[in-house]
């Protein structure tokens, strides 16, 4: 009988320790794809071309949908389990909120209504409590002793991010209007989940589950950076559909999707 590839007479060696690596090629592919996409957007003659909005909303919806679908697959894998089952379902629903928000935003713009602030913001903001639930459910279940510097970092980080946004934003606006408060809500939401994701990555870092959590934290760093940047740019009315900051959201969603795939793979 022919044996292709693996030789069956060789004993299988059980690894002394389980290992899992981040495949950085995935990040290069995501980066290259997004840069290519951004150059494609610049190829349009006018930034007001209606096709740009359609392309943009499709890309945002699809990237968030990829993460959501993988999230549902992971949730199904641990269906009915109190920690993994419910927390990954919350994450998948959170990503789905982003998809719905994008569709609502596009629809409102299409019928000539102001897309933001609007009902679309409710769906975008709904992402944060769902993601927070995912993080809190896992962290509270696996709660190890957390060292004081880590605790301090986790508390100070959202305060600093929100404080910087509030300071710069208020200096610009000289008034606390709806746009300012909406931006503040995004900054608080983004920075709190960022803190949680970093804490999760610290807790699991010595185990193979640390890899998906590190990737998840990277994804949330990207989306939070996008949120804070958007909130700030929006204060100046400087946001355009072709703005570079969109890439942070797309990259964030795709990296979160990769984190979910990694989770499914390791456990």
């Amino acid at each position: 009988m022919f044996h292709l590839g693996k030789r069956h007479d060789e004993p299988e060696i059980v690894p002394e320790k389980l290992h899992e690596r981040i495949d950085y090629k995935i990040f290069i592919v995501i980066l290259a794809g997004l840069l290519f996409y951004q150059f494609y957007l610049y190829s349009f003659k006018s930034p007001n071309d209606p096709n740009i909005e359609l392309v943009e909303t499709t890309v945002t919806s699809v990237t968030a949908l990829i993460a959501s679908v993988i999230g549902f697959f992971v949730a199904k894998r641990y269906w009915n389990s109190r920690v993994f089952g419910t927390s990954y379902l919350a994450l998948a629903l959170g990503m789905l909120m982003n998809v719905i928000a994008e569709r609502v935003y596009y629809f409102l713009g299409h019928i000539g209504q102001t897309p933001s602030p609007s009902v679309a913001d409710i769906f975008w903001l709904a992402f944060y409590p769902l993601m927070f639930y995912h993080l809190a459910r896992n962290i509270s279940f696996f709660k190890p002793k957390i060292r004081l510097p880590v605790k301090a970092f986790v508390i100070v980080l959202p305060i600093v991010i929100t404080g910087v946004y509030a300071f710069l934003g208020y200096n610009q606006e000289q008034a606390a209007d709806t746009t300012f408060f909406l931006g503040l809500a995004y900054s608080i939401g983004g920075s709190v989940i960022l803190s949680g994701a970093i804490l999760g990555a610290i807790i699991f870092r010595q185990g193979i589950l640390g890899v998906p959590w590190l990737v998840l934290a990277m994804g949330i760093i990207l989306t939070t950076a996008g949120d804070v940047w958007y909130s700030y740019v929006d204060l100046y009315n400087g946001y355009m559909i072709t703005h570079m900051l969109n890439l942070l959201w797309y990259a964030g969603y795709l990296v979160i999707a990769y984190a979910l795939y990694k989770h499914k793979k390791v456990i």
């Binding site: 920690v83 993994f84 279940f141 190890p144 699991f204 010595q206 185990g207 193979i208």
Partner: protein
Amino acid sequence: MSGLDTLIAKSLDSTIKENLGKKTLQKVEQRLFERYGTNLTQSIEDFTKLDSVLREFFGEGAEGLEKQFLENIVTLEESKTQNPNWIAIEDPSLAKLILESFGDEDKKNILNVVLDEPRIISEILEIAQIPQTSGYRKVNALIDNGLLIVQGHVTTHDGKKVNKYKSIFENITINIEKNKVIVKVLLVKESIEKSSVIQVVQCR
């Protein structure tokens, strides 16, 4: 294996399955088998093995996970006014097992006989006035469920060593509050001292 560890092992796999899912349980069991050649229940005997596998998966998260396992099953009484060896049984299946054992007249008599001092099986059956056939079956069931533990042995006239058994409880209280049955047991000191689960979790 310590009697307490046997009791905990009965509920451990259901706790992992309920919280982290069947697939996670399979992964942990698979790794335990390929690395140590044991299953989950056996790994309780040497809890450091299970601990090392859980750490491979969850890093420092394993510490919290192990505490959760223990807390879902039993709660160690930490009140200064109470004896520290009292534990509250949180796991309903475990509470049921204990209640069923005390609900069976023969098993209750067996446990009462070895409450204060360890005895060999024939002696237990003689004092409790239970027929040998059903008596041995019931004693073995109590040993399998971790309610009787080996404590010392006697040497017979033909040189054979025969184990002496003792109840893992010194005392038991059963309270019914509304619809909840609360079972608290006072464990014998050795049972806690010999429990590798308690030792690993409490050393942190």
